[in-house]
């Protein structure tokens, strides 16, 4: 019996030769999503059950929420879903550059959503005094939306990894270190940008609108964050200007597609949460 190492990407027995014709990864993802339905089902039940029973120290919930913000982030998530669908579309046609753009777009929208959530949480904690332990509502609300947020965050991480993977060179040069640097830059930019963004929003609120004063306060206060963001973005552009042949292609469409399934699912969970947790409170 002789064995010889075959090149990396050969996996014909595992992804394409399937009994049903459905790729394994896609099937896996759908089964996982079926399972995730139960996961969120249990969480949402918990929230609703406690909302239907009176519990002590319950805050004024409608006064807590900002429908504008939540509608905005809902919209953002919907748009990210669109971009995700387009990314899959592009990848299936073998358009790697277009795929990259769409992935980046999805990442950005995902991050905006997360930033909104961070903003919302910190607003609730600091201004409205709603914490995990201040009331049952705090517990169920943060746990439910936080778990969803974690799903989004994992999705963003996955998107970033996928994005970086599109640069894997075709000629088999060692690449792992470069990919890691890429990832690090992403991480730094993300944190800095969210910080800068929140600082911007804060300044906007403090100074009641866009004004010179507001801008200078913002720049003054968040200089480091802004600087790092800009530098990081430049680095990203630089890293993304790789024109060499890459391994990534149509064959990876299934990877992008299963990631897309996850992303859309997170989106529809939000559709439910938006109605069940936010809108229904207004009635």
């Amino acid at each position: 019996m002789s064995t010889h190492a075959a090149a990396g990407a050969i996996d014909h027995h595992h992804d394409h030769t399937t009994t049903t014709g459905i790729p394994n990864k896609k099937l896996f993802m759908w089964a996982f999503l079926a399972s995730d339905c139960m996961f969120f089902g249990a969480l949402i039940s918990t929230h609703l059950i406690y909302r239907l029973h009176q519990t002590p120290n319950q805050p004024d919930i409608v006064g807590l929420f900002s429908l504008e913000l939540t509608s905005f982030s809902t919209f953002i998530l919907l748009m990210s879903s669109l971009l995700m669908a387009l990314a899959v579309n592009a990848c299936q046609k073998g358009h790697v550059p277009a795929t990259r753009k769409m992935l980046l777009g999805t990442i950005v929208f995902g991050l905006i959503f997360l930033a909104c959530q961070v903003y919302e949480f910190s607003h609730f904690v600091h201004e409205k005094g709603l914490t995990l332990s201040s009331s049952m509502f705090g517990s169920t609300f943060y746990t439910l939306t936080g778990t969803h947020g974690c799903h989004v965050a994992i999705g963003v991480l996955w998107l970033v990894l996928m994005y970086i993977r599109t640069f894997k060179p075709a000629d088999g040069r060692p690449w792992i270190l470069k990919s890691f640097i890429h990832l690090l830059v992403f991480a730094v930019v993300t944190v800095a940008a969210i910080k800068a963004l929140l600082g911007g929003v804060h300044a906007f609120q403090e100074h009641h609108g866009l004004s010179g004063e507001m801008l200078s306060a913002f720049v003054h206060h968040d200089l480091l964050a802004i600087g790092v963001t800009v530098a990081g973005l430049i680095a990203l552009v630089f890293l993304g200007r790789d024109r060499k042949a890459v391994e990534f292609g149509e064959a990876n469409a299934i990877d992008v597609e299963s990631m897309g399934l996850y992303w859309h699912f997170v989106d529809i969970v939000w559709i439910i949460i938006f109605t069940a947790v936010y809108l229904l409170e207004y009635l």
Partner: protein, 648 residues
């Protein structure tokens, strides 16, 4: 239809090999075929199955020793052999160990080892993920058991950990104690393992079947694997959420089960049993699958009513999601809810009965060969039925008001769990031992162990019915001598010791056979299903020289009866495969075990409230997954002609 006809629509673009790769050492795939590295990095479903099996049997002994300690304490009234505290730890850990670390992984061992063989596949759909599931299981097992070696002791809140006894205020109020945290964390980790493993099995069964292996030709064991996998992925999320909420309560001050903040402990019960009831079917369905393989083989007859057995298995699984509150008949749910769950529960007796009837139908008119596996299988049918009947007695809610939390329940579930699951698993070990190790257990010793186990089991658990109806509550470390419980308890303890002797004989014989047993020809039992079609026992790494083509339900039986036809077909397929680059096999990998070890590290630090360590563990895990993704699926080819290893 050949295996490759299916690939047509997917094109061959990926088959053009990229240039020879230059990999950093970090991503070099391990290739050891023997030795410790081969086990740590294995992606072979058979090796993984063996590791599951051996760990499960180890934990079965651990759980068994815990059970013996329980029985010794209860042998006489007012015993002081064991303190209340230790006793509580013992029954909690006994149940947790037996359910999550013995029976479930033992089933998983058979899923892993047998299911791909039964569907004629070379491996599961995601081999590395399969390895990961095993290592994560081991991590969870360690986390749950590590309490024995720590000051705070082992978990002691009962296996269903009812809130608010698990809250900080009532368990481990002292900062140094963390046994409940270990329980919470360990179960979450085990959940990850089970769900990941099951997703893999689902994809494998649905997508990796050999040509001609339609769903209605799947061996029943594979069918039950599929149903079980569905039960796992759909029920574990409920307990995961319950555990997450509990963990949040314990570590981050939320109020889910905190009474003063309006928490409803009953919610825990619902979430737990939404998982817990499907869980008991997760324990029994694989067992029923095994029995449905053994009975036809030793009756030398096809399974009676195959479609209806499959269908009833799926029905049991489905109904299993609608009966959870029968564990809560005494929680004051109100009349309507109680009635509804009572009726739903009774309904489950119907599909289960169907299975029993069809098994008897399989025996009917057969040519029964009373080999050891068959003995255990018949024992299963009897004993499981008895357990099922006491289950039906529970399902009548008013009667259950007197039985709940009494030894009657203990009797019921040991009849279904031991008389059911364990008997079937022991039968399965005997049945497949020649396939896995190429040796056969001596009939005399096998049957002896069966009779000792069978009688020990009944002597232990039959008296418990009376104990329960005579008012003895479960989970009690001591009882008074004036309650009429003394004799039955003493008998039960003696029975448990006999049972222990039986199990000891069983294992000794197995170990002896592994080293010295009689070598067998392959297909000792004249079996019917595809796992016996492997070219040699133990099966080679690549399972089948040629992927079999399936023409009938009992595929191997058909093969044996149509040898000429099959040989021609196989030759054609072999040529086809060779022209294609040979047999493709997945490469080994370090990263599943690395990622799992990150999880273990993180979890242990987390329960010790050392957040830096927890983050470090998370980082190791992330790194593991990252490199896992970077190394790519890999793979290599085996060319059989190079070594005339092929059997003609």
């Amino acid at each position: 239809m050949s295996a490759h006809a299916q690939t047509d629509s997917v094109g061959h673009a990926t088959h053009t090999a990229p240039p020879a790769e230059k990999r950093s050492w970090l991503l070099t795939r391990p290739t050891a075929k023997t030795g410790i590295v081969s086990w740590l990095t294995t992606v072979d479903h058979k090796k993984i199955g063996l590791m599951y099996g051996i760990s499960a049997l180890f934990f079965f002994l651990v759980g068994g020793v815990e059970a013996l300690l329980i029985r010794l304490q209860l042998a006489v009234p007012n015993n002081t052999f064991i303190s209340h505290q230790l006793y509580n730890e013992l029954f909690t850990m006994h149940a947790t160990t037996m359910i999550f670390l013995a029976v479930m992984p033992l089933s998983a061992a058979f899923f892993n080892y047998m299911m791909p063989l039964q569907i004629g596949a070379r491996d599961v759909a995601f081999p590395r993920l399969n390895g990961f599931a095993f290592w994560v299981f081991l991590a969870g097992a360690i986390v749950i058991n590590v309490g024995w070696f720590m000051k705070s002791g082992a978990p002691d809140a009962g296996w269903f950990g009812y809130a608010p006894l698990t809250s900080k205020a009532y368990s481990n109020q002292f900062t140094h104690d963390m046994s409940t945290d270990l329980w919470v964390m360990g179960l979450q980790i085990l959940g990850v393992s089970s769900v990941v493993g099951s997703l893999n099995f689902i994809v494998t069964i649905i997508n990796m079947r050999a040509p001609g292996m339609t769903m209605m030709r799947l061996p029943v064991f594979t069918w039950m694997t599929l149903v079980t996998a569905f039960l796992i992925i759909l029920s574990f999320p409920a307990i995961t959420i319950a555990l997450v909420e509990l963990m949040m309560d314990r570590s981050f001050g939320t109020a889910f089960f905190d009474i003063s903040n309006g928490g409803l402990p009953i919610l825990w019960q619902h979430l737990f049993w939404i998982f817990g009831h499907p869980e008991v079917y997760i324990l029994i369905l694989p067992a029923m699958g095994i029995i449905s393989e053994i009975l036809p083989t030793f009756s030398r007859k096809p399974l009676f009513g195959y479609p209806i057995i499959v269908f009833s298995g799926a029905t049991i699984g489905f109904l299993g999601f609608g009966v959870w509150s029968h564990h809560m008949f005494t929680t004051g749910m109100g009349t309507v809810a109680t009635a509804a769950f009572s009726l739903m529960t009774m309904a489950i007796a119907v599909p289960t009965g169907v299975k029993i009837f069809n098994w008897i139908g399989t025996l009917w008119g057969g040519h029964l060969q009373m080999r050891t596996p068959m003995m255990f299988a018949l024992g299963f049918v009897w004993m499981f039925m008895m357990g099922g009947f006491s289950g039906v007695m529970h399902s009548a809610a008013p009667a259950d008001a007197q039985q709940q939390d009494s030894y009657f329940v203990v009797a019921h579930f040991h009849y279904v769990l031991i008389g059911g699951s364990v008997f079937a698993l022991l039968a399965g070990i005997h049945y497949w031992f020649p396939l896995i190790f190429g040796r056969k257990v001596s009939e005399f010793w096998g049957k002896l162990s069966f009779w000792v186990i069978f009688s020990g089991f009944n002597i232990t658990f039959f008296p418990m019915h009376f104990l329960g109806l005579n008012g003895m509550p479960r989970r009690t470390a001591v009882y008074d001598g004036n309650m009429g419980w003394n004799d039955a308890n003493l008998i039960a303890t003696i029975g448990a010791l006999i049972l222990g002797v039986g199990i000891a004989i069983y294992f000794t014989v197995m170990i002896y056979t592994y080293f010295k047993g009689e070598k067998t020809s392959h297909d000792v039992w004249d079996a019917r299903t595809l796992e016996w079609a492997v070219p040699s026992t133990p099966p080679p790494e690549h399972n089948f020289d040629v992927i079999p083509t399936v023409h009938a339900r009992d595929a191997y039986w058909y093969e044996k009866n149509h040898q000429a036809e099959i040989a021609k077909e196989q030759a054609a397929h072999a040529a086809d495969e060779a022209s294609h680059g040979g047999i493709h096999m997945p490469s080994q990998s370090w990263f599943p075990i690395i990622a799992a070890s990150g999880l273990l590290t993180g979890a242990l630090f987390f329960v010790n409230h050392i957040m830096i360590g927890a983050i470090a563990g998370g980082a190791i895990m992330f790194l593991g997954v990252y490199l896992w993704a970077s190394e790519g699926p890999g793979g290599y080819h085996i060319h059989l002609d190079d070594k005339n290893h092929k059997k003609h």
